[in-house]
């Protein structure tokens, strides 16, 4: 009873009263979509995951209701923002963090975007309480193709926790996030990914860090299904600092492939990537850590550490550090390892009476939990640890 899926975009876009400039971006992206290639994730085969394909009819988005703005900040759906804060959206949408539409998935997601949130923290607003973004609703969309914007104005400070565990009812989910830190702003961002097993997910998160701005970014990649994720921070202002801590666990037969990248564009910027992964069962985990220093970005630091712990003979994993440096006056370093459980550690723990499963759990939790300790907010840290526990094998 399947009717052919309409791939044509409606003339007036998908959001209510969509501005013409926005619809034009869709159209450009749709054109690109037809002649660009899937993005490259080294050592990850995801060609048959049906990403970048429409699973449902293109129809106008009904995602326009939510507006949770306060006196301090704007928080609403992208659709709402296009109506109420069009100038702001126009200033940031694909302008600062994600600026070129180079591959098939990003073009697909831009052409057919049907959801998303918009969070704007004005200049010099210093939030003491964390913002916990509501997960995108499970039932609202058939196929989530979202574009999310987080903007911190100059001198703004915030802690933002985002938990994700569903992306609609369709077979795939696509989610783009742009994170813009204007000069002197400070953001603690925690992404907790708990997507279900049924959906392959494409994540593309792009951050732009301005002069003297700080981004502390923690990611818990604890989804049960197949995921490819780009996590990218661009240090565009002098003395910009970004740290990306990514903790990942794979289990069952899932594959997670992650390109985690920090690019130093500006002098005296500091970029750090730390990835810790645990691989169980018959799953596969690939960390591609990319540190890039652009010519002229002198006095910069680019460091990365990618470590994987393999807990099963049937599992596979890769930790690939890549350093691309086009400047002499820099400090750059990388470390990578794929290892197994340390027998001496297990023996030591068991010699105190801990059963083997409990001992294993402790070692694994220690290995990956180091990153959890970097999350300053206790409430978010707790959620992070809860997700981590859920994903570890039961004793």
């Amino acid at each position: 009873m399947s009717e052919p899926i309409m791939k044509k975009l409606p003339e007036l876009g998908l959001f209510p009263n969509e501005p013409a400039w926005f619809t034009d971006i869709r159209k450009t992206a749709l054109k690109n979509y037809r002649n660009t290639k899937l993005p490259r994730f080294a050592k990850v085969h995801y060609e048959d995951w049906q990403l970048g394909e429409l699973m449902t009819q293109v129809k106008p988005s009904i995602d326009q209701e939510m507006d949770c703005s306060t006196n301090d900040y704007i928080l609403c759906t992208l659709a709402t923002a296009l109506m109420k804060h069009e100038k702001l959206v126009e200033k940031y949408y694909l302008q600062k963090a994600l600026t070129t539409l180079t591959d098939r998935l990003v073009n697909f997601s831009t052409a057919f975007v049907n959801a998303g949130s918009f969070l704007y923290i004005p200049a010099n607003t210093k939030l003491t309480k964390p913002i916990l973004l509501p997960e995108n609703s499970k039932t609202k969309f058939e196929q989530e193709i979202s574009h999310n914007l987080i903007i911190l104005g100059e001198g703004a400070q915030a802690t933002i926790g985002i938990q994700s565990n569903g992306a609609g009812t369709a077979k795939t989910g696509h989610r783009i996030s742009e994170i813009v830190l204007e000069a002197n702003s400070h953001l603690n961002l925690i992404n907790l990914d708990d997507f279900t097993a049924a959906q392959p997910i494409y994540l593309n998160r792009q951050a732009s860090v301005g002069e003297n701005a700080h981004l502390n970014w923690s990611i818990g990649s604890f989804s049960d299904g197949n995921v490819i994720a780009e996590m990218n921070a661009e240090l565009v202002g002098r003395r910009a600092v970004a740290t990306i801590n990514n903790a990942a666990i794979t289990s069952g037969k899932q594959t997670q492939g992650m390109n985690t990248r920090v690019t130093n564009f500006a002098p005296h910027s500091v970029g750090k990537i730390r990835q810790r992964g645990v691989i169980l069962d018959e799953s596969r985990l690939v960390f591609n850590g990319i540190g890039k220093i652009i010519h002229g970005a002198h006095g910069t630091i680019a460091e990365q550490e990618n470590r994987i712990l393999m807990l099963s003979d049937k599992a596979s994993g890769d930790a690939n550090p890549i350093l691309l440096i086009d400047e002499n006056d820099v400090e750059a370093g990388h470390a990578a390892s794929v290892g197994r459980l340390d027998k001496k550690q297990l023996y030591y723990l068991m010699s105190r009476g801990l059963s083997k499963p409990t001992a294993k759990r402790l070692v694994v939790r220690g290995f990956i939990g180091e990153l959890a300790k970097e999350i300053a907010n206790p409430q978010i840290r707790q959620s992070f640890q809860k997700s981590l526990e859920r994903k570890l094998p039961n004793a």
Partner: protein, 265 residues
């Protein structure tokens, strides 16, 4: 009264270079009751640590003959964690470092492993016990928050082993060269910890090179090991004699043909 019995124990280890099995223990006999303190002395390379690791159940060591019995029941088929829960404890010479797990988490897990499932120790009780144990060992409470043995100095590690001993309260504790790498002050503190758990329901086996520690922890029996077995047993005065004459003196007196690994005194 409880009993730990070692009967005609022969143990072999695989040589990592040649991949051949090499016999280290050649028939050890030893019986320890609760309420007693035993010390094993002996030259380097004679199998003292092999004995302690084998009793605990380190899978690297293979028992080729003999038995280890706790209250008459053989432990040979039991894994290390089962032996620990049955009442054995080994204060190790080189405890593993584990990043990301705090001392406190680890201690709680160890205590809870001995309790029925679903009935963990109430946090208040745990903290009370921990505070008193820390006080006995002159340890500050930040030790509890540090990662397990990570970046600990030699002395801190030994203290941490005894902290676990105080918290876990085993029936039999083997202390493998507890005195090595400790200055006099630390040795006294650590000994104080061990003496604190002494009593009619606790037995100790100390492995040591020197009689120094025996000044602080008084042994009921001193055993001398050479060539993979116990060659002489006596009271505390045997340790004094060894200190005077060295191991070579005793070897020659007993007419044993073994090479002492280190240069002879």
């Amino acid at each position: 009264m409880k009993t730990l019995e070692i009967k005609d124990l022969h143990v072999a280890v695989k040589d990592e270079d040649t991949q051949k099995m090499k016999e280290i223990l050649t028939g050890v006999n030893l019986t320890i009751h609760t309420g007693e303190v035993h010390a094993i002395m002996g030259p380097n390379g004679t199998g003292k640590s092999t004995l302690s690791e084998t009793i605990m159940g380190n899978p690297r060591y293979h028992v080729t003959q003999g038995d280890i019995l706790l209250n008459g029941k053989s432990l040979l088929k039991q894994a290390v964690d089962v032996r620990a829960r049955a009442g054995l404890f080994l204060a190790m010479q080189y405890p593993a470092e584990i990043k990301g797990i705090t001392n406190m988490e680890f201690l709680r897990a160890a205590i809870n492993a001995r309790r029925p499932e679903g009935a963990p120790i109430p946090i208040k009780d745990f903290l009370t016990q921990l505070d008193s144990a820390l006080a006995i060992l002159n340890m500050t409470s930040d030790m509890a928050e540090r990662y397990l043995n990570e970046g600990f100095s030699g002395g801190e590690r030994k203290r941490n082993e005894i902290l676990q001993l105080l918290m876990i309260k085993p029936t039999f504790a083997i202390l493998d060269e507890l005195d090595s790498g400790l200055d006099i002050d630390a040795l006294q503190v650590v000994s104080k910890g061990v003496n604190h758990v002494m009593g009619p329901d606790f037995g100790t086996l100390m492995i040591t090179h020197y009689k120094r520690i025996l000044k602080y922890i008084k042994p009921d029996q001193v055993h001398v090991m050479m060539g993979g077995r116990i060659v002489k047993t006596g009271d505390a005065s045997l340790a004094d004699r060894l200190e005077d004459e060295g191991y070579s003196g005793l070897r020659d007196e007993l007419g044993i043909h073994v090479d002492l690994v280190d240069s002879e005194v």
